[in-house]
Symmetry: C2
Subunit: 215 residues, 2 copies
């Protein structure tokens, strides 16, 4: 019986870079078969090891602009001369099939989506401490001091937008954080405003019939 | 580290009689050690097999009225000359200890609590179909036709208050319903308005220090 909206949910996940959101999302995809990770489009050239259709859909600038004109993006933005965008069609297809679609996007994109689709679930992932994040990055030793400075500057700004989100998950341990995200996805499906009117109506009709029989 | 409000959550569970809410709650208590079922007080006499402190706290009418005067109830009501109420003190103690407190109460009591404590989680449990509920009750064969009529009449009214609740859980299978309730409890703890201001402040302070060091 079709009791609850079986349509999938759109889930936006953001968080300061280095907070481990990609690892958490990977774990969610592994443990929850009803989820799918949306892949963004970009007009920038692929970097070594990047795979088309996995890391990004790589388009030419012309192709990207054509898609913009056709209204094919949920949101898009330009950074440093390159376009980045969230394609609409595949997402709609997955949602229609009852799959929860996860978008890992930065805050500006998330806010644009929030304007358009208010029933999207917005999850912000935070590290348990910034010191720990710093230590992790120092350990990797892959970043210039300048890049590091910029990174923490952005993190500061991002933390100030937390209240635009619905949930905050602290990534203490990946498995715990994943369990929380999965709980949010289950819980959101039980929210009262997602229950189908037709289901409540069918219950009421049944009661009506039963009352007539009993009378 | 104290990152999220560790205070427990107050959870009100309602649903038409016969929907199986007590069985679901029993399963939640069994599978989730951080939950506790609140026991109501009543001034009515115990029925055979009812245990004081388990089914109800049995009080004399005078004791009950004294507690009312002292403001010891979260909500109370009078039915057929007897008082029924939700005692405040034990609940507060449990919440303070980080335990989620479950109240299984009918809709009138739930609405009274909602007026006072808006951050309570309200869950409504529904049977997958009223026909099935009727069949189950017919099978038990313990009810007069009149009692049955009244029961379904109440159910009809109750279903019309569903939109006062936050969540609707359909009790198709007890284990599934229990899983959903547990997911709601986890998910609610991650809601953005439950995150501690002090935690966000500590992250911001850390970033500030890191930026000073990097500069």
């Amino acid at each position: 019986m079709n009791k609850l909206k079986t349509r999938g949910q759109l889930v936006v996940i953001s968080g300061p870079s280095g907070c481990g959101k990609d690892t958490v999302v990977k774990e969610v995809l592994k443990t929850n078969k009803d989820t799918w990770l949306s892949v963004s489009c970009t007009s920038r050239a692929p970097r070594p090891k990047e795979v088309d259709g996995k890391d990004y859909y790589f388009l030419t600038k012309e192709e990207f602009i054509e898609k913009i004109d056709k209204g094919n993006f949920l949101e898009f933005a330009e950074y440093a001369g390159n376009y980045y965008g969230t394609p609409k069609d595949v997402i709609e297809e997955k949602l229609e099939a009852g799959i929860d679609v996860i978008l890992v996007i930065e805050i500006q994109g998330a806010l644009k989506i929030k304007e358009k689709l208010d029933d999207t679930i917005f999850i912000f992932i935070l590290p348990p401490s910034m010191r720990e994040l710093k230590k992790r990055l120092d350990g990797r030793n892959t970043e210039t001091k300048e890049a590091m400075f910029k990174r923490f500057q952005s993190a500061y700004q991002e933390i100030n937008t937390v209240n635009k989100y619905n949930y905050v998950v602290i990534n203490d341990e990946v498995e715990e954080a994943c369990k929380k995200v999965n709980a949010i996805l289950i819980s959101e499906r039980s929210r009262v405003d997602r229950i189908e009117e037709t289901f409540l109506n069918s219950l009421e009709e049944e009661i009506h019939e039963i009352l007539v029989e009993l009378n």
